[in-house]
Amino acid sequence: MESKLTDVVSISDFSRKDIEAVLKEAARMEKMPLSEKAKLLEGKVVASLFFEPSTRTRLSFETAIQTLGGRVIGFSNAKVSSTKKGETLSDTITMVAGYADLIVMRHSIEGAARRAAETSSKPVLNGGDGANQHPTQTLLDLYTIQKQFGKIDGLTIGMLGDLKYGRTVHSLLYALSKFKDVKVRLIAPESLKMPNQMVEETKSTIGIKETENVNEFLPELDVLYVTRIQKERFVDEFEYEQIKNVYILGKEILKSTKKGFRVMHPLPRINEIKTDLDSTDAALYFEQAKNGVPVRQALLNMLKDVKK
């Protein structure tokens, strides 16, 4: 990597320049012929340590590794790993760093990736650490926006749904604050509003407005980033049922949106985006999921020769 980053742990470690370097490399990966790409991780072993299962993230990472010619070792479920026997994370990581050239990991404990990066002699890529960080998701979100609009600066981005607990929207908000003249519209029920601290920390560079009304800002949005509203966040089931049905988007929203408007979603969705939107131009979420592969290829390729 051109930057000093030796691991991908948290989007907060990335400057705008770092982010742009990743997006550029991801675009290069998409254009590169398969045969050329397959040499990039030739002879390298990448450990894929999923202490917490996540089929989507794992498949995306492992596809990235294999298309670059790397070999994958690891596990997809902590039950088969040694951690259940009470081994510390740093012991597991030290052992794995002895076999592998790069480590991809996902863990339910917050800060696990930072701990691994501090322990490991090999670069660590965080595929999610509990409610804390999921930097490759944020980078693929940014890549998707960049690819669709040719820029990130100056766009107006709506975030809808569970903004209180949603890790992806928190990281995306911080990442967008590194760009210029971005406007963000936060659309959430009172009980799931973006934490005040995050609004305070980003509002000096982002124009932020908040609302509970889905329709209020629709005409000005370039992107609407939708997140799942999870039932388990609610004490009151009645409140959940009420809110869930207010924040459902279908094709009808396109009557009030501007040309070029796109909908993103980290997937999987439950019912918050109706399937009638899938076949419209506005649906960017499947493309977004696909973009995970070139972004992860880019990161693997940028980190493969890092000396820590």
Binding site: I109, E110, G111, G130, A131
Partner: protein, 152 residues
């Protein structure tokens, strides 16, 4: 140390903590593990101060602060002064500053943090005004009152 500030020094050799924020003295004793001291400890709470209205004072016989103890006090009482007393005279006087890092000084209050789960030595970066401590691992921030409660 002014005669105004401390009318008499009740110790011959040890440490006087002056200009502590009013109400912080008992927490300071807890931090210094002096709730059941072996030597004389004198505490003044809510005394008049020309500089800051009200202040607390702590006089500890036979004690010199370690750098770690000074940093801990710096987290909740930056701007206080520490006076080293020898033979009833002030030998050294220093202002306590807020540390930039609080590694090992407080524990992360996030039960899902790796530092909590694996009982690691904690690492925090400190930002000032308002005081916040950010965990190096889970990135959660602790507010001033949370730091005050977490410090031991």
């Amino acid at each position: 140390m002014n005669r105004d500030d401390i009318r008499l020094i009740p110790i011959a050799n040890g440490t006087v903590l002056d200009h502590l924020p009013a109400g912080s003295a008992l927490k300071i004793l807890e931090i210094l593990d002096l709730e059941k001291p072996e030597e004389a400890v004198t505490v003044a709470i809510n005394t008049e101060s020309k500089r800051s209205g009200k202040k607390d004072l702590v006089f500890i016989e036979g004690k010199e602060l370690s750098p770690e103890e000074t940093d801990k006090i710096g987290l909740i009482a930056a701007g206080a002064t520490v006076n080293l007393i020898e033979n009833s005279k002030v030998k050294k006087k220093e202002e306590i500053v807020m540390p930039d890092h609080a590694d090992g000084l407080i524990k992360c209050m996030n039960p899902k943090c790796i530092s909590t789960v694996e009982n690691l030595n904690s690492k925090f970066s400190i930002s000032k005004k308002p005081l916040k401590a950010k965990c190096f691992y889970c990135e959660k921030q602790m507010s001033e009152s949370e730091i005050f409660n977490a410090i031991r």
